[in-house]
Symmetry: C2
Subunit: 245 residues, 2 copies
């Protein structure tokens, strides 16, 4: 059967999702725990290959197994074997042809900026501390240019292997809650470092170094060097994925 896992993790200690020759990854600890639990070699397929340091409340991974353990019980058994910074939130059987990267889906991310005079040490692992004033209204104006289907080549690392850089953003919203500025983005899928480059560009807008409407020109240039810097990974959390159908 094919089993689908919803996985939450604190990415601080990890070299990202995808198996790496050096350093532990979320995928590698899942493969290890599943192989130990089920007594066969398991290799998961992840929906989002998050970068080193990025967190998730609900990434999705599937794997095939011959085990007779009910899929719904696997979450409990796996959490006994996983480190405390990786927690399976749900396990369930899915159709044998369900593939988390090939199915149509909507992914949600949140980038958190702590905008205050001094850092908050209790939030240092999942927020980016930025002490200059940010204009949230202008950040939202800039965000409007990125909504919809576009070629996001300007907002993609040059180290991408994607066949096409066209993606659709359904929602891009910037809001302030006390001293936290939250950038929420939902889309059909995201290019390598795309959310962090959007965050870095919106930070330039918020601090007044870029006008909101300049973001349209950046998009049209289809050139990574036109956009802002890649904002730090540790402030990014993948919130979850919903699949069509």
């Amino acid at each position: 059967m094919r089993v689908c896992l919803t996985v939450a993790y604190d990415g601080t200690r990890y070299h990202g999702w995808q198996v790496q020759p050096n350093g532990i990854t979320i995928e590698s600890v899942l493969n290890q725990a599943l192989s130990d639990l089920l007594g066969e070699k398991i290799t998961v397929i992840g929906a989002s290959r998050t970068d080193a340091g990025v967190h998730s409340l609900g990434n999705v991974a599937v794997f095939d197994t011959n085990a007779r353990m009910p899929a719904e019980k696997m979450s409990y058994a796996l959490n006994q074997r996983l480190p405390d910074d990786v927690v399976v939130q749900e396990s369930k059987e899915v159709a044998p042809d369900f593939h988390p990267r090939r199915c149509e889906s909507r992914k949600a991310y949140e980038y958190r900026i702590l905008n205050r005079k001094f850092p908050d040490p209790t939030r240092r692992r999942d927020t980016y501390f930025y002490h200059y004033d940010l204009d949230v209204a202008n950040m939202n104006r800039a965000a409007q240019h990125l909504l919809g289907e576009h070629d996001f080549k300007s907002f993609c690392s040059i180290h991408t292997s994607a066949e096409t850089t066209v993606r659709t953003i359904y929602l891009l919203d910037v809001r302030k809650e006390c001293d936290m500025i939250l950038i929420r983005v939902e889309g059909s899928g995201f290019l390598y470092q795309m959310v962090r480059i959007i965050a870095g560009t919106l930070l330039l807008v918020g601090s007044g170094r870029l006008k909101p409407d300049e973001v349209r020109a950046i998009l049209e240039k289809r050139d990574r060097s036109a956009a802002g810097p890649t904002a730090p990974a540790h402030a990014l959390t993948m919130l979850g994925i919903s699949f069509a159908g």
Copy 2:
């Protein structure tokens, strides 16, 4: 001059506030950084001697110095020398007789319970994971019995050295925000482990093992063994202190 610091910290790595023979404490890293910065031996006096693992957004400490550095500049200079889990939020000169434990003050704490099916690894350092249902309305009913001036001997560790166990609670409120249950308490001062014992007792009420009105009898017994267990330290954050006058 006497200088007052507002200090935020992630207590995870620390053996509490107060200097200990074994293990680092918030007080010891502050004393070290201040002594290095000012070139004289500095010993701070803290307002709240928080337990090992407890966090703070705004504990208060004072010290005396002959240094000529303006007090307001010290926060920046100190943060350069402090580890990234201790951050001074403000430094200012105060009256030479200001003593943070002898002045009348109001202290605020928050105890965070994550009430959901599986743990959230990104919140494991500052929340207590509890997966059974909790009745927040009953927790609030129980809380009402603790409001006002009482002898809190039942809610104090037997290892206290306090002369009196009478304290005043101004506010004790339990609220639910999504999957988080937040216990907020404000008072004139708190006995050793008092907030954690209140949290542990309200957890018994929330889970139905204690009726809300039984909390009054527990209070009247003046016996630590009558109250609930001491809830884990890592889920407690000291929010701040305001001083009268």
